[in-house]
Amino acid sequence: MNLPLVGAAVDRADGRVKVTGAARYTADVALPNAAYAVMVTSEIARGRIASVDAVRARSLQGVLAVLSYENAPRVRAEGNDNAFALSLLQDDRVRYDREPVAVVVGESLERAHHAASLVRIAYEAQAPVTSIETSTDRYAPEEIFGHPASVTRGDPEAALSAAAIQVRRVYSTPVEHHNPMEPHATIASWDGDRLTVYDATQGITNVRKRLAAIFEIPVENVRVISSFLGGGFGGKGGVWSHVALAAMAARVVGRTVKLVLTRPQMFGSVGYRPRTIQAIALGADRDGRLSAIAHDVLSQTSVFDEFVESSGLVTKMLYAAPNVRTTHTLARVNAATPTYMRAPGEASGTFALESAMDELAYAAGIDSIELRLRNYAQTDPDDGKEFSSKHLRECYALGAEKIGWSERDVRPRSMRNGRLLLGMGMATATYPANRVSASAVVRMEADGSVVVRSGTQDLGTGSYTVYAQLAATILELPLERVRMELGDTDLPPAPLSAGSWTAASVGSAVYEAASALRDRLRKGEKAPLEARADAKAAWGGRYSTHAFGAQFARVEVDPDLGEVRVRAMIGAFAAGRILNRKTARSQYLGGMVFGIGMALHEETRFDASTGRIVNANLAGYLVPVNADVGSMEAYIVEEEDAHVNPIGVKGVGELGATGSAAAIATAVFHATGVRVRDLPITPEKLLQP
């Protein structure tokens, strides 16, 4: 294939509009005669609405409607295998904190907010189940993303009992909320039975299908537009209640309606990473060779729907061990339905597994990298398939060199900088390379310029840039002659931007369409001319397809205050062909920063008696700020993969968010000798005797 293995470090095509404020995100779109909708959300986590008093709200000048279960139109709110069940004001039940219970529509933003504050809702509260520890409603889900949810290979319990070295530990991760900087936003307009929606979404095609189902109109009647997205991280992957509520409100008032969530509402009906409790058991011989791994995951879901945090999937595949068990159990709690959050399963799962591997390294007296090399999986231990490519050894070696791993004195509390304790840690990163069906059209105009069209999204991942680069390379054109159109269901359909599959999926479609166009031009056909490709989903086939990497961290810990500062992070990643060196590096670095948040800062806290969230804002829910991040670098390990898909791309969006929390956690142990197995690692956990 005539493509460079690592694409040029081209500036973002949408760079100029983003630094000048010209890029219109959903809430920036100004439509004529638009009204403003504001949600009212529940103040209990479980119970019923006893009464809705909207008299004062309705009496305000400029208030167009107050909708609650008493007067909302009947729609289809139930979920299915591909869609979450929603809260669309259909009955008086309250199932979680901050569940939408009313919608107010006003002539101005201020009037709508004021009216919303005047809606008085009385509740009959019931005692909620507020934690997975206290939940008695537990069950084992059957599958996760088409994989069996529980797998046993060999006889792990017998192998564990017989192992010379056994590590049995329990790790836990908290509820985390995505908190993209852009709050969710929807603008809805009806024209008869036709609905046009501007939506901050990672999947315009899914929004279209879901709204058609909810309002029982043909899919073709719904158009969804999403030109710029202010981050998503999985949170904008599901179609959530507010999207349909905006459309419902627009239908009731007969006007265009704009609905933007407040930051506290971002902790309500739009998903989160669920809490996990993960029991890990490793059995190894004196040389550290694994004979058995068991990884039993308990995570939470809502009382009305299912989401599984697939923390155990990674464990089936990562290390060569003859006896393996991974299980997933769900506990129902009175909280909203959880969802995918950057590296769902792999981020939380690698924290537990890689922390346990560090504990094994200490138990066996073996260097952490050497331990991983002794258990290196040459083929996928789960299904015996060959890896389509795997350059993890190179990642370990490069990362170790760049962080200065050889300077590390392995003994805990052995390295200091004045009164500060120094620590170094590492972990493996990995994420599956998936591909789903996607379509694209590549068109050359009479003037020789080219437009690439696909109904995908740009979350900040670089979609406007990399597909134009790909088409320009294939058509041998200067990049400025090629532009990308995306974010509109009038374009050829593309998948949800999730699972790190967009570059592989949309990229393969663009590759096929651009190649077809090039061949027709070579045969003498003249522009204007276009070619379309409908690339099929492909999962694996003969090969096991995964991206890999190695994460390294250097931390300083104040022994008196327990304060952890990340001084440096190094990542080395092999993810097949890289379409753009610059934007890929940024995605890797961003994933690593997500790991800093997971390791040290992020935790949504629930009141144990009421089930209400007590830190639903960015002052109480901490995300990493600039000063929390030390020097960072992400290195690209070149990797040619002839099997994974036509363009050899594995995807980079989530890989950097795996292993990063474990690298920091193991560095903190190295610095302090204190093993924190419950994230986040806050100062008080380091100061406990």
Partner: protein, 147 residues
């Protein structure tokens, strides 16, 4: 407003941020939290950094307000804008207008002496995409060129 006189009649409760976004169609200034915790709504009022969500429009009658739309000179980007593109100091771009206005003010105030100072001073502007390393590189590059 960005060097032009603009007349506006709004209710007293309208914040400067909502006045910009909903009444003047200056949507480059972003609402990230509406609570003064994220920095996305940073604008310059008489040259000083202000969180426009925490102040009312009527409090600034007669003031000089600079938003992201007023930073470039025609087609020529401000050096900080150029540096943000060159160093890929953003991904989704939602926090970027606030980051750029904050950086411009810091450079004018001479607060960008080293990386640690840049990191500390830019910490009021959250970036969930995690572009911090590149933001520091962009601000440093402009600081080095101008001193």
């Amino acid at each position: 407003m960005n060097g032009e006189a603009r007349e506006l009649c709004v209710e007293p409760r309208v914040t400067l941020l909502d006045a910009l976004r909903e009444h003047l169609d200056l949507t480059g200034t972003k609402k990230g939290c509406d609570q003064g915790t994220c920095g996305a709504c940073t604008v310059l009022v008489d040259g000083r950094r202000v969180l426009s969500c925490l102040t009312l429009a009527v409090m600034h009658a007669g003031a000089s307000v600079t938003t992201i739309e007023g930073v470039a000179r025609g087609d020529a980007l401000h050096p900080v804008q150029d540096a943000f593109v060159e160093h890929d100091a953003f991904q989704c771009g939602y926090c970027t207008p606030g980051q750029i206005l904050c950086a411009i003010a810091l450079l004018q105030e001479g607060r960008t002496l080293d990386d640690a100072a840049i990191r500390e001073q830019m910490s009021g502007n959250l970036c969930r995409c995690g572009a911090y390393e590149n933001i520091v590189a962009a601000v440093r590059a402009v600081a080095e060129r101008t001193t």
